[in-house]
């Protein structure tokens, strides 16, 4: 087999790129803004709803997020969240309903592999890395603050 030189490979890549449609970055950003903004506004509505019931903001946050998670999971089961994701891109993926989608979709897809290696394992296909690196980063930041003698949560160090 003839090995292509690095220069040939680079030229081929440039040649192929000419025929790729350009990514509609501006359009994607506008849609991400609208979809992500809408989900956050719904979250604000849920937050206000729970606060009207007499919960302080700190205690209203959990239930409001849980409702968004339930909606994200349910819409994934109905096949609707995939459509929202195709339109909204990261606007659908970044809110916590997208986290619920990332948990539910692979579990559903691999259901036929059983409750342990299908659903149980695939639930964390994407959520696993998210939780792992969130936890590692947060513990690292907390440890740094403690070592520097900066306790308390508010304000800049």
């Amino acid at each position: 087999m003839v090995q292509a030189s690095r220069e040939q490979a680079r030229r081929y890549q440039a040649f192929v790129r000419q025929y790729h449609p350009p990514r509609p970055v501006l359009r994607n950003c506008v849609l991400a803004f609208l979809v992500g903004g809408t989900i956050c506004a719904i979250g604000q509505g849920l937050l206000n709803l729970f606060m009207v019931q007499g919960l302080p903001l700190k205690e209203a946050t959990g239930p409001a997020l849980a409702v968004l998670v339930a909606m994200g999971a349910l819409l994934t089961g109905l096949g609707v969240y995939d459509d929202i994701g195709r339109i909204g891109g990261m606007g659908a993926a970044l809110p916590i309903s997208g986290f619920a989608n990332a948990i539910t979709a692979p579990a559903l897809e691999f259901k036929r592999e059983g409750y342990v290696f299908g659903i149980g394992q695939r639930l964390f296909q994407i959520a696993g890395p998210v939780v792992v690196y969130g936890m590692v980063a947060a513990v690292a930041m907390a440890t740094i603050r403690i070592v520097l003698g900066l306790t308390g949560t508010g304000g800049a160090p």
Binding site: R23, V25, N28, F33, L34, V35, G36, G37, C40, A41, G43, Q44, L47, T61, G62, P63, L65, A66, L68, V69, A73, T76, G77, L78, G79, G89, M90, G91, A93, L94, P95, I96, F99, A100, A102, I103, T104, A107, L108, K111, Y115, L123, I126, A127, V130, Y133, G134, M135, A137, A138, V139, A140, M141, A142, I146, T151, G152, T153, A156, P157
Partner: protein
């Protein structure tokens, strides 16, 4: 009404930032999600994220960086009362609502529904 507008704009802008990273780099959506959770924890550790939460409400609490920030805040709150050992407990306590509901509802939907297409 304005709390909705602020949540919409701040949450929307965070999604635009994530979309730009997705479109302008070779990272996948999963990479971007991990990156933003880490950024949330770092911003929390620098004392930058909590003011945003107070300003934007759900606009800062619904997107994923909030998860990293919440874990950090949970640890630090617990550290105040229990000392360094709280590094092992405070984080998951703060993230309990999100993680528990995601596992529970995700499992329920996967068990009850069948995949489409």
């Amino acid at each position: 009404m304005s709390s909705y507008a602020v949540a919409f704009v701040v949450g929307g802008l965070m999604c635009v930032l994530a979309q730009l990273v997705l479109d302008l780099t070779r990272l996948t959506a999963a990479h971007v999600m991990v990156l933003f959770v880490v950024l949330g924890a770092v911003a929390g550790g620098l004392g930058l994220y909590q003011p945003l939460v107070e300003f934007a409400g759900a606009g800062a609490m619904v997107p994923l960086p909030s998860f990293g920030n919440a874990v950090f805040q949970g640890i630090m709150e617990d550290v105040d009362t229990r000392g360094f050992i709280a590094v092992f407990t405070g984080g998951l306590t703060a993230a309990a609502w999100g993680i528990t509901s995601a596992i529970l509802f995700g499992w329920l939907v996967a068990a009850l529904f069948n995949p489409k297409g």
